[in-house]
Symmetry: C2
Subunit: 705 residues, 2 copies
């Protein structure tokens, strides 16, 4: 299975496809912790390390405040409350999907930016959901009790799904809070996370994309950087701005070189304790195949975009996600293809196995490695087919996602909650209905383009004469079939969707929609593949849990679990680094921005918005714009606040540099750095470029002026 990390985590919402996470991710650091390593649970923070290394005492109050000031963008990113009047800051690229959905042929907010001078002008987002973590409860015992130790494969999956759905439903009923059972330590622990949920989210401010993503794809994952990658939303309840109990005080000084810095956000996924056979599969199959697919789609959209500016607007957001993922996966592959990096993994595993040989108390751990390898092989055989059919990579576009959702909702909803596919359980209903009934524009021409391209990929995979292909193409060429399906399906009509969703399976069947019929035709295969992959995942999960317990026993409990898009605390120091003998300073300034633009002849993607060119003299050019720190982050952390020891907002994470792309598989602090926008730079831009003093004042005072 191919796992597009940032692409999945930063913008899956629109797809209508379940955010299926590889069953393989999780685990524990394989070797002794390095300085500043770790994406720590709020329920098990690194108090001792902070005390020892930085003399910093982490109090419960400090932690609770930061937790409740942190916001999860359910579409796949992070943010924080920054005023008592419900103002939230995140990255421009986290909000980009919403910016695009709010636009039309006349208004391109993504490109041109947006500012609401007062509450009335704030624009309500189409389908954005925000979550704020309230409590964490350990439910490991209850989950394990419901899953017989003898249960294998599907039986265990179903049993765990049932108890999980039960816990979530019960918690939702009791508290009214969104309740997710989260798997940690690869099945070593299950925690119940309860979130306060906000769905009335309005856009307040966004800069032009040219400055938010200055340098574009060429400078993406590079440093030095000069990006104002921010945007502001405001959460509402009952038509009024939310008054959050906790929000971050703005630091006017902002991040300082050498300063201890905390990051509170939602790292999407790491795979730091995969076994060597699992890593080998990722290195030799998953990443190369994923990259081939991304590059294919990138070339398609780049070229379609070049044919007209309206095409470019329509494809921009998808293209952005693809390019981001492509660079990320290229970096990950480079890390795994480096014999030094991979060799260290091999050595660590081999040494750990040696230490296990004499531990009768963990006699299951060595066999668990074998079980993982066998399960890995079993799912590897189906991985690509799973990705194409169940992952819908052969049916790219929103139309198919809607068609499948209608089909499966009809089939799944009559089932008992615990027996449904996970994404159709009661606890997820509201989120998934929001996607299904989103009025985000869907463009038929772009849908035909992407569907035709992905159908061609299906043909490539099976060969044109394969029965599966003939069933899907029905005697047409990929292009002909895509055009036929997209022009005749009704799933892009809201009323049609409502009718089918409310009517259930019988009405869905009666509608005889050709795209739903296609979804149905491949559904038995897709579900069968999902079972294979999930069962293998289940086997691996159990085996990893056994290994995890052994590792706890051998290495002590001061470990953090792999990232799972749950709230984590990271920390590090604001600090430059050295590359090819050159010193890269920790901070960049507005002066650097204007220089980089001039060097590149002010050409796209290095051109500055008109407002910036006009206001250059009004800017204090020595103001810091971006900075780097050693905190341990990854995709999903986008939009995370950086805070100082006083818990003040000093900046906002928006990227990692190229060396940091190895973070999925391991932490290193030699060259890897998290990249942030500086809080002083934000104020400088709001005041002296955008001249939105009211917004600057709200940040500085913590309330609307």
């Amino acid at each position: 299975m191919i796992r597009f990390l940032n692409f999945f985590f930063e913008r899956p919402a629109a797809r209508g496809i379940a955010l299926v996470i590889a069953g393989v991710s999780a685990g524990l650091p394989a070797s002794p912790l390095r300085a500043d390593e770790g994406m720590w649970l709020y329920s098990a923070p690194p108090r001792a390390a902070l005390q020892a290394k930085y003399g910093f005492t982490l109090t419960d109050a400090w932690l609770d405040h930061l937790m409740k000031a942190s916001v999860r963008f359910n579409s796949g990113g992070s943010g924080s409350w920054v005023s008592g009047d419900g103002l939230i800051i995140t990255n421009h690229h986290v909000g980009a999907d919403e910016l695009q959905k709010l636009g039309d042929e006349q208004h391109n907010y993504l490109r041109d930016g947006f500012y609401a001078a007062n509450l009335a002008e704030e624009r309500k987002c189409v389908d954005l959901e925000l979550n704020v973590l309230q409590t964490i409860e350990d439910v490991t015992a209850r989950v394990n009790a419901a899953v017989p130790t003898s249960a294998e494969g599907e039986t265990a999956v179903l049993a765990r799904r049932k108890i999980t759905a039960e816990i979530e439903k019960e918690s939702l009923a009791q508290t009214g809070l969104r309740s997710d059972v989260v798997t940690l330590y690869q099945g070593g622990a299950y925690h119940l996370y309860r979130f306060k949920k906000y769905t009335d989210i309005r856009l307040v401010f966004a800069p032009e994309q040219a400055i938010a993503f200055f340098g574009g794809d060429p400078d993406n994952f590079e440093y030095p950087r000069y990006d104002l990658d921010i945007c502001f939303f405001r959460a509402y309840e009952n038509g009024q701005p939310v008054r959050p109990a906790h929000f971050l005080t703005w630091s006017t000084v902002g991040a300082q070189e050498g300063q201890l810095t905390f990051v509170s956000g939602h790292p999407g996924s790491t795979r730091r304790l995969l076994t060597v056979p699992e890593l080998r599969h990722i290195r030799d199959h998953q990443l190369p195949e994923g990259l081939a697919e991304l590059k294919r789609r990138e070339v398609l959209l780049v070229n379609w975009s070049a044919r007209s500016s309206e095409n470019a607007r329509r494809a921009k957001e998808d293209l952005f996600g693809i390019q981001n993922s492509r660079k990320l996966l290229d970096g990950e592959l480079a890390a795994l293809q480096d014999p030094a990096f991979f060799g260290a993994k091999v050595t660590a595993e081999s040494e750990f196995k040696k230490r296990l040989t004499n531990r009768a108390d963990h006699s299951g751990a060595l066999p668990a490695f074998v079980q993982i390898e066998e399960a890995q092989q079993a799912s590897a055989v189906s991985a690509r087919e799973y990705h194409l059919l169940e992952g819908a990579a052969a049916f790219n576009g929103d139309s198919f996602a809607l068609a499948r959702t209608l089909l499966r909702a009809g089939e799944e909803r009559p089932k008992a909650n615990g027996e449904r596919l996970r994404e159709y359980t009661d606890a997820r209903r509201e989120s998934f209905e929001q996607r299904l009934f989103s009025d985000k524009p869907i463009y038929a021409d772009l849908e035909i383009l992407t569907l035709a391209d992905s159908l061609a990929a299906l043909v490539d995979f099976y060969g044109a004469d394969h029965p599966a292909v003939q069933r899907v193409l029905a005697g047409k060429s990929p292009r002909g079939r895509a055009a036929e399906l997209i022009t005749t399906t009704q799933v892009r009509t809201m009323a049609f969707r409502r009718q089918l969703y409310e009517g259930g399976a019988a009405v869905v069947a009666a509608a005889k929609d050709p795209l739903i019929a296609l979804a149905q035709a491949i559904d038995p295969d897709a579900r069968a593949l999902r079972k294979i992959v999930e069962n293998a995942g289940e086997t691996k999960k159990k085996a990893h849990a056994i290994i995890g317990k052994a590792r706890f026993a051998l290495d002590g409990p001061n470990q953090y679990p792999d990232a799972t898009f749950t709230l984590r605390l990271s920390y590090g120091v604001v600090k430059g680094y050295s590359e090819n003998g050159q010193n890269i300073p920790a901070m960049t300034t507005f002066a650097g921005l204007f220089m980089r633009s001039a060097q590149q002849e002010n050409k796209d993607p290095f051109g500055l918005p008109e407002r910036w060119r006009n206001r250059q003299r009004a800017i204090t050019l020595t103001t810091p714009l971006n900075f780097v720190c050693t905190a341990d982050i990854i995709g999903g952390n986008s939009g995370s606040p950086t805070v100082n020891q006083k818990g003040e907002f000093t900046g906002i994470i928006f990227d990692g540099n190229l060396p940091s792309l190895s973070a999925d598989f391991g932490y290193e602090d030699h060259q890897s750095r998290a990249v942030s926008v500086h809080s002083a730079g934000i104020i400088e831009a709001l005041r002296n470029v955008y001249q939105v003093e009211a917004l600057a004042q709200e940040l500085l005072q913590g309330k609307r002026p």
Copy 2:
């Protein structure tokens, strides 16, 4: 094996790698000829069809004149003599490689264009060779006599190579003309082509690339088009302009709608009579894998180019070739993935086989189909590995090509002429030395980039733990190894190359150059793969020859062979077409150019050069700029003159539209069109945009004014 048609045929020279053509191409049209179908041999022109359909009598004198007025660009394109003072016209994109090589950091002739106001200012090309066909001689009997009918596989390859080298060497000695034995009808015939060769070629005029390739990759293979895709060279001998015996008279009126039009040029390769199993391999493996590689390289170069304008200049020519090929292969794959197109191939073959069952006189034909299928399977197993190692797709860049050439020249040159690898035979020595000692700039940073990327592809193919990978990478990452090899090799130093080439194998070995050592380390595998593929090709060649003879017998001799980059005559009518219910007119005008640019906000690649913007009022906007006709063309025809019944120059082919991309596998005239620059448009641009009246006068008068 992957076959990058335009990429190979339009610019292989710089690679230093043998232009290895798939052993599978050749044959005859599978079904009765359609109107205007055919890429006819000059030795067997379609006299009867022209007489019958157009009442046009093709005389020997007319044919001889057009043949000798046609010029082959050995780097992979076509052209024609257009003045008695040695002036040659071709496409800008055919000359692009030379334009880039003539440039440096101060002069970007590719982008900015060039004009020599007098002979002294004309710039001598770095390594361009032009060929003008003088005679065609049938040597089939002599070749076949030298290859025992019992010979199989390698024995037959060697025997044929030996006799071929012998004929070529003998002819060169006798005539002083470049002499190539050409395989036609997939081994059904062997012809000796003798060319007058020109190597002192000077650049006279080139427009800016922005107008030559207006619309860039987005509009490539599209129509309507608005490109001034031309450039002019002048051939010299002994320091003086050549006075060619034949050159084309310029038609001031140019191409007219409905007019019978001839195209004389060098179609690179078609594969119209491949068997169904061969086509299936192309559809299901060769094209998808080739496209994945092209898209990978496109993304790499696009992104590297975006990091700085100097990067962009360095990579532009490679990128251009890759994008062109990518679009071409995408179109070819679309044709083969269309069940209607592919089904017709299946039906035609099946019907032909039925007709063969009762033909005892061609009893070998049906078994020949089986032999082809078996040989196809044998070479398919090694196809990708062959492409990576022998095709050097795993070692992308000029440095490796030079390293291998030095290594193999040392090994091959001491052998008897007939036993050498084809590209090291005496007849090819001059051409290959010109490549080896070209002073074309090679950029270390770009070489590291492309080598690292292609080494990573090697790792992807084998898996990182494969011994072949470990041998190539020597414990480093692809990036680390590429940097090490490129920075330490000396092959980019001309003196070093001369020393090793002149010194031979012992001196090569003593130099211990790390890149040559790498070439040596993989050479046994590479040569072994080449043998497998060549032997399978030989088997197929024999079998295709048997089938070809049967087809002649059943369908008559009025057939043309598949394209082989030898001179061919095509014909058709200047004619628009209909697409999605819309009529596409046959011609575009200068007015249309300015409109398209305005629609696209004059942005790259739709921006017009300053000269064009400034001179807009001086242009007669109704002048035709581009036009389409139904002539049967393909890659390699770029730069071919279109001529009217009087043999006058009416335009110059530069592209085909999207539907025409199926031409590799079959001709169709419903929507497929060849796209040309109009001769009147060329004069209009030279006079009223570039104000180079002397050049316009030379064209109109046929001699320098």
